[in-house]
Amino acid sequence: MRRRSGIAALLVVAGPGLLAGLSDDDPAGITTYSILGAEHGYELLWVLALSTVALILFHELGARLGVVTGQGLAGLIRERYGVRRAAAALLALVVANVGTTCAEFAGVAAALELAGVTRYVSVPAAAVLVSALVLGGRFHRVEHVLLVLATAFATYIAAGLLARPDWGAAAQGLVVPSLPLDRDGLLLVTATIGTTLAPWGLSFIQSYAVDKRLTPADLRYERIDVVSGAVMTGVIGVFVVVACAATLHATGTSIDDAGDAAVALEPLAGSGASLLFGAGLLGAALLAASILPLSTAYSVGEALGFEAGLDDSFREARTFYCTYGAIVVIAVAVVLIPGAPLVPILFLTQALNAVLLPPLLVLVARMARDEQLMGHHRSGRLAAVAYAVTTGVVVASVAALGVLTVS
């Protein structure tokens, strides 16, 4: 069997890093970046730069863990730390993921409401679409469709360019850190880190790399895949911030969510920018709405012992597909039921994700240093320091936010 190399090999391996990275730019992420740009202009771009670095570090780690051990995160936690810890982690993950999926479908609703489509049509249609994709397809077809969906993000780059930003100020904001000490500013910083480095994303990249049957020989290309995905995510985030900074911040327009941003862009940058922004939001929402239930289904299967993958038929992997379906149904219900407390749910979900993140980071970094688990692929000292620093920053910002919220 001829061994592929170079670009061909990279194309075969690419997927986990790209999808895990790009799905982090989900509606919640786009909203956070929009508000970041609208409220603070170009000042906080450095936070995006740092969170991209953090993303590269931990997604590479997740992919490596999956590839070397052949197990997903929840399964690995069960094997190393026992059933109780795995059950606790699983419970937290499932609750957080359900909430995040609600946010994704709410994003679909918001994006299509901009075009005048009622959510009672758009959300069920989206649910059927994402379910049919994952339930029906083989692994490679699902991956290809998801990657095509991800190209919707190019719209943000176009929107950013259309807004005619001040690139000098943007460059400065990227490189020069300035810390807002008020609660809202800190909330934004924490939200940015949290939306980039989400627990479900860490779990997804590991499970997906396992499902894709990657091997340690692929690690070299997988790293390129991870870095590409993370950098693309960062670049898209930068363009979102820049688009809003150039227009909304300059005029002092305040927004509450990404839908507001798309609307507010129109008088300032033309209907083209506005349309592109909305289209990007829809693509982001659909991508994340496909990936979130998938990540949850992987985790549930791994922790309970019913491992399954996209290649398995429904009959072979009932729990896997039923979990996927259940998450979608619950999320759709929450978004559609009038009077459902969507905003508190979204807020609590973000809080839960923020609380769940530090223990997961610590756990994952510990497993990375485990010689018995990783063999000669274990992380070196320098990497361990980098993981510790990142975890420290996350803990610090969450703690600072907690203190500011309570006081």
Partner: protein
């Protein structure tokens, strides 16, 4: 006393000396993997921070509420398979059912003082029981895989089963080998191909479609 015990019930059981003195609590047992249904050969127990391992012949009696030691000759079984450490919550390939599963519990058959591991439970019931929800667990199905119908997918269990001629994987026909290998990490698959007789390895068919990727990878990595 003849009975069937679960590993998770055995773990945590008090260990007492013949004179009634408390020695600690059971943490693990080691098995001799050289037989078709492995025999327990050592007992590990912990008192406060101290872990002691004694050969199983020191055990005088196994009762539902305690394990009684006749004498204690501390030893260490290097290179053995410890059931809780190496097998519990690890992945196994169910050769008969053709799937990857995770061990929730291990069934031990007791004849007198001899304990043998006879099956693993990969269903939902043991997971729920270990979380403390015994009554819910009682209603859930157990899924048993006999020890001679499984192969450990991860770590020490895999290595030792490969090294032991009595292990299930050595008795497999090429078709069955293909099924097992297709479900494993390609490196493990390669190790299996390397461990079975070359003539049989050559006859292991390539899988079509689904698991083809793993199979191809395993072949490529195995020394020919």
């Amino acid at each position: 006393m003849d009975a069937t015990t679960r590993l998770t019930d055995l773990i945590g059981r008090p260990v007492t000396a013949a004179d009634g003195r408390r020695c600690g609590r059971v943490t693990d047992v080691a098995v001799d993997h050289a037989t078709r249904f492995p025999r327990v050969v050592a007992l590990a127990f912990r008192r406060r921070r101290r872990l002691t391992v004694v050969p199983w012949r020191c055990v005088e009696r196994v009762a539902p509420d305690q394990v009684v030691l006749g004498r204690a000759e501390p030893t260490s079984i290097a290179g053995g398979v410890y059931l809780a450490r190496d097998l519990l919550d690890a992945q196994v390939v169910d050769i008969a059912g053709r799937r990857l599963a995770r061990v929730g519990d291990i069934v031990l058959d007791q004849r007198g003082t001899e304990l043998r591991a006879v099956a693993v439970d990969v269903g939902l019931a043991p997971v729920v029981r270990r979380l403390g929800l015994r009554r819910v667990a009682a209603r859930l199905p157990s899924e048993m895989i006999a020890w001679d119908a499984l192969h450990c997918a991860t770590g020490r269990g895999h290595e030792l089963q490969l090294a032991s001629p009595a292990a299930a994987v050595h008795g497999l026909q090429p078709e069955q080998l293909a099924e097992v290998i297709s479900r494993l990490h390609p490196d493990r698959g390669a190790e299996i191909l390397a461990a079975v007789p070359a003539a049989r390895a050559r006859r292991v068919p390539r899988r079509r479609r689904r698991r083809r990727y793993s199979m191809m990878r395993a072949r490529r990595r195995a020394p020919s």
